[in-house]
Symmetry: C2
Subunit: 485 residues, 2 copies
Amino acid sequence: HQSLDDLHVASSPRLKYRILNHWDNLDGTIERGYAGFSFWDWHKLPDYLAPRYTDYARAVASIGINGATLTNVNANALSLTPQYLTKAAALADLFRPYGIRVYLSARFSAPIEIGGLKTADPLDADVIAWWQAKAAEIYRHIPDFGGFIVKANSEGQPGPHDYHRSHSDGANLLANALAPFGGMVIWRAFVYASENPEDRTKQAYDDLVPQDGLFAPNVLLQVKNGPLDFQPREPYHPIFGAMPQTSLMLEVQMAQEYLGLATHMVYMAPLFKETLDAETCDGPLANTVLGMAGVANTGSDRNWCGHPFGAANWYTFGRLAWDYTLSSETIADEWLRMTFSNDAHFVQKATGMMLTSREAPVNYMTPLGLHHIMARSHHYGPGPWVTGGRADWTSLYYHQADSEGIGFNRTPSGSNAVSQYCPPYREQLANLDTCPENLLLWFHHVAWRHVLKSGRTLWEELCFKYNEGVAQVRQMQADWDSLVE
Amino acid sequence: HQSLDDLHVASSPRLKYRILNHWDNLDGTIERGYAGFSFWDWHKLPDYLAPRYTDYARAVASIGINGATLTNVNANALSLTPQYLTKAAALADLFRPYGIRVYLSARFSAPIEIGGLKTADPLDADVIAWWQAKAAEIYRHIPDFGGFIVKANSEGQPGPHDYHRSHSDGANLLANALAPFGGMVIWRAFVYASENPEDRTKQAYDDLVPQDGLFAPNVLLQVKNGPLDFQPREPYHPIFGAMPQTSLMLEVQMAQEYLGLATHMVYMAPLFKETLDAETCDGPLANTVLGMAGVANTGSDRNWCGHPFGAANWYTFGRLAWDYTLSSETIADEWLRMTFSNDAHFVQKATGMMLTSREAPVNYMTPLGLHHIMARSHHYGPGPWVTGGRADWTSLYYHQADSEGIGFNRTPSGSNAVSQYCPPYREQLANLDTCPENLLLWFHHVAWRHVLKSGRTLWEELCFKYNEGVAQVRQMQADWDSLVE
């Protein structure tokens, strides 16, 4: 404990939008949720306001989060019907005193599904009128409604491409409807298609960067930290720094979809910091964004986040969205003291565990830049053997292992994804000798016998890293056991 | 509070099997669950034992329940794989000190789905051997395994009929496999088929009663309280008292599938008592059964049962399974004092609310013997207009309303379901003038202008009853508000 006598704190947020993204379905399930089920009891809303809603609002507000998207980005149009708007309004009323704005996911085909129209074409006059009327209706329910979050033309979701329109056409349709009321459209940049033969990690950049300047002022383009999908380690997403005329949000995922669900201990501050600190074509990544979105790891579990250290990642998200200059050590220290103990020995040991816990899963899952080699569908456990079905959801697509070597050649002799980064980083990545070894197999197909800086061959280094990851976990277990009195 | 000085209680259970039935799926959802999601976290089992498991065991044991079926009767064969048996064993180990035996639902086609056989024919030698080996395997994991619960050839579930075998063939297949280890087969009598043109309420009796004496000694035939499906009011199921050579269990449902989910207040003791006290062909119904099964209303909600009075039904189930002679008033009194307050005024008012709350939903949902006229699929709210799809899942099938009148003629001039009851009850039911009015439209198609004992016509009486139900709820609300200080 510290004395409060000389406490003088003045702090203002560095990012304007600090939004928790819930991937919660209307039936109470959570996509990629590992800590139970949804907080939102849509059946009992608006009449019954569970005490947990207030607890949630207090927790969220305490770390400076100022918005929450309540519904899954794989959206259900029902959430925009009057019945559900009444329910969302009850939550918005409850959250308002805590400074939390409610956002809803918008299904692009809602004009068809709940509007009775024959099309959702963003340039169709009836569609435009429908969204305008819908926006007005929403603001009658929720006067400070934050806006829509939209996953369009991605993984089967409907979108403007269905009508040969661009993402900016789609985003602006909704943005223009919300603009009179001050609402935002959060348009997700997580777009790719299995029909596109291009390297999946290049597709979002290829599609969206040429549209820089075409998005309405109240559109926020929400970009995941890396160009693939929340892998244990990715290079930063090259859209950051490449769309200076577009407002960007950084999306991170506290839910451990690719990081051992809620059963592995992974403290994500070093992961988030690695992205925020990245040097883009336009300076530090954190300077290129207006906000951060964090995919929530909360649920109905007794401790809300599943793993005993899971709440640290939610806390980290709020703290970094408020002030991305905070160090991983500082945030761990804060959280440990508030959660467990001020005992110096405990805090020191547990901080060490937390800081190790980010690199450990990289080592035991995807060392040296490997990625997307997990088991299919549930994404838990290894699955480098996964083949079949759409290619860009297989492991083989990404590791490209053969008798010669392993890794995805994204240099100019391969997919040339490196071209989406600026010099000198581009050249550094493209050169086998200068590419950071922790991203080596992301950018290069490397011979098994290639010798790394350690003096070990690639094969030996892979074995070394996998074993190192296991050893790190064993050490964490020993450290934790040593802290039990 | 009462003094404990002169407390001398000796009590032994009147029924041997007191089993909670969880309709919980392996993915954490609960079929007909309205209080959140499953207690069982199959992903984290067996390593992580949530504190709630122990809380659950204590609560269950405190009311004398001695068994729990962990998995949905609409079963997933995966629950019988080694991986899941290890998980179930962890729960069994935890529950054992509390005297709670674990049962699992068995999918009849498991030999095909997880055994690699080409058939699940109960007379096939390989199938017999597979279940014998599976039983031995289960008992290696869980030495005091209670046994299987099986829903077969009902609502799309596989079963012995798929191979032109009888229910007793199917039940005995599993019973013989479990017998060496002391396990039981709980075979559900909730069997009917849309292909069968016979009145749905007659089908289970028609199929099963002729098999009396054919079931192995370690088979318990589990029969719902009424011949349809947990309606607000049903006549008792005519199988009770009609199968003297078969061990029977009474199945009731605390989950309020047809009683307003977890949002309506319904205290079920009067409902359960009505069944237990029924006079069958072979004496009081309670004397014809070896046990009671209760479909659980528990879930991950903060208060475990959703509605603030929901836990009363779980409590009631345990108390009545232990001693079915307890009165509804006594059980309400016990529960209110332990849950809320010993204040005499409170207990008196709240007991009144609870006792009213059983008849109120009958009045505002299905008065005068109406049944199965709820909305389709989710079963919440009214749906007398539901038609289309399989006939026996429509409302029209049951209310038979036309310009002349309303009700299902189950007298000898109709489906003759009354023939499944014994004289003199049979004749009492069959006669329009002697049939209890609270079951009138269950057994008779009655003219709208028919005059009832009240002097009102049927139409007037229906209106009266619906309004009476609403008035009862308003009174409950007023009573509850009056109790808030």
